[in-house]
């Protein structure tokens, strides 16, 4: 009897976590019926025999009402990105060409992405001002030369 009670308690403790494990990964919903292809602490790859549009429709309804979630349509995938502080960072839904099923990849929110994008954007500011610097140097040189030539001509015509 005691063993049965212990087994029941363990089951009762484990069941919710089992259900949760199937329902979400890092609070990102998992589409029902998907098979886990690969799972690490930071990445979950799933495969499902549903079309891309069906998977996207599931995620759109599951994430409905969540603030700061952005959808991007890429050529080979739909990319869902979280811009707030949720544990997951992105959900990538592949656009399969044949009947191979749709792949869903959920990634953990990470500092590599934040630092990467910040460094790139900081460099981007330099690039913008560098292009402006080059354009100004060139236009400055051309205009200065033209103005000087014009002045010399004017002086010559006066003299």
């Amino acid at each position: 009897m005691r063993r049965l009670i212990i087994a029941l308690i363990i089951t009762a403790i484990c069941i919710p976590s089992l259900i949760l494990a199937e329902e979400n990964f890092l609070e990102a919903p998992i589409i029902p019926g998907a098979k886990v292809v690969k799972k690490t602490e930071t990445r979950l790859e799933l495969k499902i025999n549903k079309s891309h549009d069906e998977v996207v429709a599931f995620y759109k309804s599951a994430l409905k009402g969540l603030k700061d979630v952005r959808y991007r349509e890429w050529k080979k995938a739909t990319y869902i990105e979280d811009d707030s502080n949720r544990p997951w960072h992105s959900i990538t839904i592949s656009k399969p060409e044949g009947d191979e099923g749709t792949t869903v990849v959920i990634l953990k929110d990470n500092w590599t992405w934040i630092m990467g994008t910040l460094i790139l954007r900081f460099i981007g500011v330099f690039v913008v001002l560098l292009v402006l610097f080059v354009a100004m140097s060139l236009s400055g040189a051309v205009i200065s030369r033209l103005v000087k030539r014009f002045q010399v001509k004017e002086e010559a015509s006066k003299g």
């Binding site: 502080n85 630092m115 910040l118 330099f126 913008v128 400055g140």
Partner: protein
Amino acid sequence: MTFNEILDMLRGIIYTTGVFHFSFKLVIMWAIGSFFIYLAIVKNYEPLLLLPIGFGIFIVNFPLVPLMGWTHGHGELLRIFYHYGLEWEVIPCVIFLGLGAMTDFGPLIANPKTLLIGAGAQLGVFITFSGTVLAGFTLKEAASVGIIGGADGPTTVYLTQHLAPQLLGPNALAAYSYMAMVPLIQPGIMRLLTTKEERRIRMRQLRPVSKQEKILFPLVTSAIIALLVPSVIPLMGMFMLGNLMKESGVVGRLTETAQGSLMNIVTIFLGISVGATMHADKFLSWKPLLIFGLGLVDFAVCTAGGILTVKAMNLFLKEKINPLIGSAGVSAVPMAARVSQVEGMREDKTNFLLMHAMGPNLAGVIGSAAAAGMFIAMFD
């Protein structure tokens, strides 16, 4: 009429006054509003903005005042200013039109190298972004807090309204407060990061800039910004239009209006609308305090970023640049350039850095707008 009926009537009248809706939080907000009014009047810190902002904070924090809400489906007075001015992102752009009409880009055109200093001075914007995320803000909020270090009020208001309108009040307040405190914040960092010899570097007098170059500048800049960071073209386009109006010399009346009356009118609406967003219920939390703390760090790192960029450039340049002008890369035109001048003269009374510092100062305006554009592109 019975005595009880008279009492009920009196009670009804009294309940329409604010007295019975009073709370201690409101008193704190009156103190905050009064503090900014004090800074504007007594200390002369950015009075054109801090005075209407302070009054906005003060006046919206009275109970039952019909200023920022909705009555019968219509916005109340300050709500209308806020809605059409800030939610529609009109005011920051019109202010940039006026700023453009006031600005002489000659020092920047004469020494375009200083554009890179304006880029380097955005370092704090990106560092503060990560610090703000660590503090628990969302990415959009972090971007809007980060831009405070750019020390450019209209850009801060524009980006915050775009990404995190709930932080508009504290962000604008922090930006304008720190802009006013440039002479207090920057000198220590400037002295810490430069040697005496560096502070004494003399720079060659800037070449004269032709009118043709000045006319071409807004067109070239608009084209480059529109191509590379299109998201900030409402802001930069208006800035460059104002400058083109000024430099062309053919629309004197428009230039005068843009830099005078129009600028003054929108400044009133900007100040009062920003102040009005700071109701006790929204403002009294840990976030504004953190924003002020992070904003200060941001400002300091941006100052350091500008100075370090000059030092890095000096490694490759034959004609050295005085690193004191690096701090002017944080915009805050022309206050930051004046600080460079004062610090330069402290070492050598005959070394005039003001015009040299105006280059990075103006580059800072373009740099912070570019940084804002990078953030908008990140989230849109």
